[in-house]
């Protein structure tokens, strides 16, 4: 199935683009999307998506179809074809 992942803020800067289209197996979870991005699609983004131990970065905010989902729950959240996954690393520019 195909879905889109969008990069914002520092992630967009390291990716050098605003989005990618992914092709993942049916039944993939949001956590699998994030690991796929960090390890296959945009390795420069790994530090924003994963902890040094390989877990999902707890400070990262993720939205699927404009609804925020905690990375703590991402392993239990299935994604669907056509979904838009927005990755929002925290920002504090003031």
């Amino acid at each position: 199935m195909r879905l889109r992942v969008q990069y914002t803020a520092q992630l967009r800067a390291v990716a050098g683009r605003s989005e990618d289209e992914l092709d993942l197996p049916e039944g993939s979870t949001l956590a699998e999307v994030l690991v796929h991005v960090a390890t296959e699609v945009c390795r420069d983004a790994a530090g924003h998506l994963l902890t040094p131990g390989g877990g999902l970065q707890p400070s990262l905010l993720v939205a699927v179809n404009n609804r925020a989902i905690s990375t703590r729950e991402a392993g239990a959240v299935p994604v669907s074809a056509g979904d838009v996954v927005m990755l929002l690393p925290p920002i504090a520019g003031g």
Binding site: A9, A13, S18, S59, G94
Partner: protein, 262 residues
């Protein structure tokens, strides 16, 4: 706000054009005049908030920002002036805000928020505006807002993007629900155009005006993310986390719940 101050002839003249706003009127203006707003800090984002709130007639502004003005602040810190380089930022801020509206009470404190001063700094505020460049400061203000039951407008930017949400303790997610930990790779020095900082600052000022005056629908339970590179504005639904260490049911912060009549 049981005892709203009366408007003077100067008030009616100065604010005439905003008194025409549907749903605002004299009652809204009097609510602004009675309000105290705390802003940390007053750089590109917070300085714009302060300027817009002074222009709109908020009665009392408490501003916190340590340090002296530098040349490289001036691409975005529009509350400052070139003549203020090398002098405390708060001096430029007070001068500029008094020129704009001498009737606003401005208390400027040359400190940045930390765990030792946060209660003292935010203690008298009806609304807190968080515009600090460090997550530690934002998380301290978030904890204080939840503890006191005071609304907090969190506004931030990076490069050509901005982000904004309005937190009402007890009703909406808090900042810790969204980002429970300090992110590992935030760089204190970030790319910024003043126009982007001023955009999110103006949006935040409007949120404060709406909260105080009871106008429109504040950005509660929602996070706005905008990207001026492509001119896209996205509103994301956000939810409280039941395991939030700050506002969740097992929190030790001691939330007092939302105050009424904001």
């Amino acid at each position: 706000m049981a005892h709203l101050p009366e408007l003077t002839a100067d008030d009616r003249g100065r604010f005439e054009w905003q008194l025409w706003v549907h749903g605002f009127g004299e009652d809204g203006q009097r609510r602004l005049k009675a309000a105290t707003v705390f802003i940390s800090r007053i750089g590109g984002v917070g300085g714009t908030v302060a300027m817009q709130l002074a222009a709109a007639g908020v009665g009392r502004l408490i501003l916190a920002h340590a340090g002296d003005l530098r040349l490289d602040d001036l691409n975005r810190q529009s509350l400052m002036a070139t003549s203020g380089i090398g002098k405390p930022r708060i001096e430029s801020a007070i001068s500029r805000l008094r020129d704009l509206n001498p009737h606003v009470s401005v208390e400027a404190i040359a400190e940045n928020v930390d765990e030792t001063n946060v209660e003292r700094l935010v203690g008298r505020a009806d609304v807190i505006v968080s515009a600090a460049p460090l997550f530690e400061e934002r998380l301290q203000m978030n904890r204080a807002a939840v503890r006191r039951g005071v609304p907090l407008v969190d506004c931030a930017m990076y490069e050509l993007e901005g982000r904004l949400t309005t937190i009402v303790p007890g009703r909406t997610p808090c900042l810790s629900c969204l980002s429970p930990e300090r992110p590992p790779n935030w760089n204190r020095e970030f790319p910024v155009f003043g126009a982007v900082a001023a955009t999110v600052g103006s949006l935040a000022a409007m949120e404060v005006i709406k909260l105080v005056a009871g106008l429109g629908e504040p950005l509660t339970g929602r996070l706005l993310n905008f990207d001026l590179r492509e001119m896209t504005f996205t509103t994301i639904a956000i939810a409280r986390r039941t395991d939030c260490e700050v506002c969740g049911p097992r929190s030790a912060v001691g939330a007092s719940g939302p105050r009424e009549n904001r």
